[in-house]
Symmetry: C3
Subunit: 284 residues, 3 copies
Amino acid sequence: MQAVRVFGLAKLQSSFSRRVSSLVEVKYETIAGKRAQYNVAVVQLNNPPVNSLSRSLLSDLNVTLKNISSSDHHIHGLVIASNVKNSFSAGLQLEELVNTDRNKLSQYWSLIQDCWHTLFTSQIPTVAAIDGHCLAGGVIIAVATDYRIASNGDFGIGVTAARIGVIAPPLFQDNIKHIIGSRQTELMLLQGKVFTPDEALKIGLIDEVHCSNEDIISYACRSLIPFMETDVRARTNMKLSLRSKIIQKMELEREEHNEAFADFMLSPPVQEKLVSFIKTLKKQ
Amino acid sequence: MQAVRVFGLAKLQSSFSRRVSSLVEVKYETIAGKRAQYNVAVVQLNNPPVNSLSRSLLSDLNVTLKNISSSDHHIHGLVIASNVKNSFSAGLQLEELVNTDRNKLSQYWSLIQDCWHTLFTSQIPTVAAIDGHCLAGGVIIAVATDYRIASNGDFGIGVTAARIGVIAPPLFQDNIKHIIGSRQTELMLLQGKVFTPDEALKIGLIDEVHCSNEDIISYACRSLIPFMETDVRARTNMKLSLRSKIIQKMELEREEHNEAFADFMLSPPVQEKLVSFIKTLKKQ
Amino acid sequence: MQAVRVFGLAKLQSSFSRRVSSLVEVKYETIAGKRAQYNVAVVQLNNPPVNSLSRSLLSDLNVTLKNISSSDHHIHGLVIASNVKNSFSAGLQLEELVNTDRNKLSQYWSLIQDCWHTLFTSQIPTVAAIDGHCLAGGVIIAVATDYRIASNGDFGIGVTAARIGVIAPPLFQDNIKHIIGSRQTELMLLQGKVFTPDEALKIGLIDEVHCSNEDIISYACRSLIPFMETDVRARTNMKLSLRSKIIQKMELEREEHNEAFADFMLSPPVQEKLVSFIKTLKKQ
């Protein structure tokens, strides 16, 4: 681990600084609502050039999210963003999916499931501030939050998996359906479609396109106020209830889903296609 | 019970007059469709100043709805509206939720469940004519009907429960999802959001904003014609089938849901928050 | 069976020519994508004057679809369209529903279920090119495909069943919900509503209104390219997973659904209403 960059509240800084790495940075903002002041943790992915979801990044992200979500830190909201220019996250680290064995692949997939679960079930309201490409696994992170803001930039948001022979497994399909409905999910996944921020807004994949000069992270912090001003018990009770089918499915069937994903990914034609796609990328 | 105000068809009047009170008024309109004349019952809530869903109102409403829905009265459609200026219904009577015991709370909640069930499963097409604030429990009444019209006024429609520490339980969440989808349901419930009529139209929470000079109740009566002109057997068969999951859940799990609601509501921090909120309201 | 009209690829022609009839015509187009050339089968219904889904048409359609969907023919996409002016399909052949017995009705319904199942589970991307009225059973065919294009014409799209006393059974309700959500499904079915192409676009019942001078079938063939350019394994895996609940329900409960449909249709009041409706149609 390299030098840890944590800014803001001194007390919080000490409790987190042990756990974050150069790949996942955390800073804190204090936001004034109508009812109170709120502490917001800003988590920034920092894995240049495109914020690939590497094993180390996922592991660090998972620890960070779990820490912030535990209630004893007086954190009221969470922004997930990028510290890399032009990329929120380009998705899975494809190298983790090839020349691997079932055990290693399974561990990697389990990290994704953990991050997703922590975000999707968080008591703390969460927002994704998307200021660059948000593809495949990047979308899985984004849809696990409570609110999605994209800047008005020249980048794409979508799940391209089908184009390179990879699948978005059932649980993530369910999460995407929860956000944009079954028809738009089907179109996006079966065409491997990538949307502009405006198109993504139209289908509900994001909630706002942010156009002003305000920094997207400040803007995202403020977008949490309507959530933070509600009662934490009532809000959390309803959040978990509204998402209960998806959460239960994840908790009961995660091993099974992990196995099915490995079966699909390790089959020779899928491996072949992926290896050849990675070669193409490296030539570019 | 105070003097009963029932207007219209003499025969119908006699059968209902025993059961309605000053809190729930019923009148009848005859509407000309292309195929036939249709009798529409107009049920108006009359509990000033804001049509709180008091125990008495719910009890009277339930009897009224059950009577109208039984087929022997030759009623083809039902409008639910308000007789109180600026308010369709502001929701639950909060006083019923505090300084109470499990038994009383349970009875009160059961009345809400009954009204909702009668409306949601009605063979007769139903429409909500919303001419003023429609909040929390008011929305639960509205989404249990087949069609929602709001006048083009300066009022709000939404479920504010989370703001005051109350929950909209799973069954009502399911009904709202059925109307506006899971994403918009989540946003409304987790932010305690209130929409203008135009905003409510945009997310599908209402079906029409009524702008002309025509009385909203006449307009609502006419909006039932497309439903009333279809075959009652085919229409009812499909209505119950389209809503079967929600109805079955209600019928099988209503006691359990009632218990879970009481558990949540009677917990000390929820009671504390509610008592303090009611005090604030009274000071205003 | 009359003379078979099959055009296009000689090799494909021979394998299909035995199975198609005058009621279901097949021709082939080769389309250039970015990655490859794709062979598209164009299936045209040809049962004037309104493409009623007669027993013979359904039987021929079913064989045709099964043949095309089997992978050994190197077909990459499928267009379903009409060869009859002003009509995609007006729906079920009503005469099959009256003066019948349970056994015959059951066989007829089973043919519909088969066609629907073959289309809905097809590995090959499918599109409906709708160039005229698409009603009731016609909508069931259309929603079973992956993409729906309607020309910008003066015709209607909708499920009118409730108007004539017929039901769209639960499985087809589920398929329609999958496309347009539960609220719009409810409105369409309970009002027996018919939409213009522009209205159908707005609620998502079709995906595009085709306005240019290009032949709608050429246009539909090209609309398959984004699907055909993805990986067949990944795309099919996700398609079947996204639709798994509906497919499983069909496979497990088709007999039961077939029985329930027969029970409803054979009841005396439904038969009476249908006979009288057919008489009205014949007088016109």
